[in-house]
Symmetry: C2
Subunit: 256 residues, 2 copies
């Protein structure tokens, strides 16, 4: 870790699981702050806005500035900004729209520049998908906040955004720009905000593909934690290897 | 047409458009019946059961036995029969379930053999797609009544079954068996019922790909009509060429 000057840190599964902070996680954040490392948080959450995430972190005892948190909706807003466009149609749920409303016009007007789709749950209806489809056929581009297949909840397996992204791609012949981890756009957004090059940064995450694979592709180091969605067999079978594996983020002090 | 002993005939766009019979269509059906040709009807409709289609044909003045009508739901029932399975989960709309209920158990029990998806409109919800997805993950196979991208109605473009088939394929890693035109299974079902070989049959349709392309792949002759969805440029650009093009089915008498 000797050349590392900053950290990108995943949230769910690294700082907390469910609504419980991982033991020693707060102390590790304090430690990297005290030692003057730069750090930002990169999460693939597409069901909550940045402010809500900051509030939930605060309720778990983490003192993290809201502007340190990067999520796919923020990467999508950056895409719109770069394209000089402001009109979007959102297929999202929860309060994710709040990440967009400051800079964008959402779901208004007939000329839509971007259709933005996340893990939208019950908001994905035949009607809303038809509306998105028609905007795409009228010239809008498609941004996917993620393209996961499914996720596991206490009630069973649930379809994630991926299948619906695939559906709209098939219907329109367009290809979605994916803005969450492990996309380059997303990591670059956080790196630019840190003012560091990829080779000066280590990514700490629990997902061997999106976190570690994504980091390695960027030229960052990858630190895998054995908390959250970590599964030994997934790591053993993965082509990508982490630079280092630690039991949890609490162990960060041992490798700094 | 000298070796032709039977006809497969598309319905929508060939016998009628909207709820109006094509001029001379009834007389053409009478003619092939009088001349002792064998004939069956093959339609890709996935929103109506066979009985409803027969009733609608009757109301337009066509006297067609219900057992002469072949649709993708019937091909799906044949698939289940061939597999020796009876439990299916239907993602369909209208009264299509009536084609299944005589031989199959629909949407009951936890062990489902086949998920069957058609152009299901408002029946495609996040809940119903999750249920279908879980059955597939539990071992069910996927049958698609069609895999079209979209269709045009007075209200605009609407997503057809294809995008949702694609969504479930992406989520599960499974590949759907498509049972409508131009699938081999579907044409074979009608040919077997006629007791004729493909080279003894001509297909009459308005779709250069599903009707004419499908027929030619099977070894049947293809007669394209200039009614329904016929578009000259689509025919000019298509790789497949019809054996013969006629203005409408009324002109059949000229080529028999």
């Amino acid at each position: 870790m000797k050349d590392v000057r900053g950290f990108l840190i995943d949230l769910d599964g690294v700082l907390y699981v469910g609504d419980k902070a991982i033991k020693g996680a707060r102390e590790s954040i304090d430690l990297i702050r005290d030692r003057n490392y730069t750090f930002r948080f990169v999460s693939n959450t597409t069901r909550k806005c940045r402010n809500t995430i900051a509030e939930q972190l605060s309720s778990m005892g983490f003192d993290i500035p809201v502007e340190y948190i990067f999520t796919p909706p923020l990467a999508a807003v950056a895409c719109l900004r770069n394209a000089g466009k402001r009109h979007c149609y959102l297929l999202t749920t929860g309060d994710v729209y709040r990440d967009f409303e400051q800079e964008c016009f959402c779901d208004t007007g007939t000329m839509i520049d971007f259709v933005i789709i996340g893990d939208a749950g019950d908001k994905l209806t035949y009607d809303s998908l038809n509306t998105a489809f028609r905007h795409l056929m009228n010239g809008a581009d498609l941004i996917a906040l993620e393209k996961d297949r499914y996720w596991m909840a206490p009630g069973g397996l649930f379809l994630s955004a991926g299948p619906f992204v695939q559906a709209l791609e098939f219907a329109t012949g367009k290809t979605a720009t994916i803005v969450g981890k492990p996309s380059k756009t997303f990591f670059e957004l956080a790196l630019r905000d840190m003012g560091l090059r990829a080779d000066q940064v280590a990514m700490i995450g629990d997902d061997i593909l999106t976190d570690i694979g994504g980091a390695r592709t960027m030229g960052m180091q990858g630190i895998l934690v054995r908390t959250g969605k970590y599964r030994k067999d997934a790591v053993d079978h993965a082509v990508v290897k982490p630079d280092c594996i630690i039991d949890s983020i609490a162990q960060l002090r041992d490798i700094l």
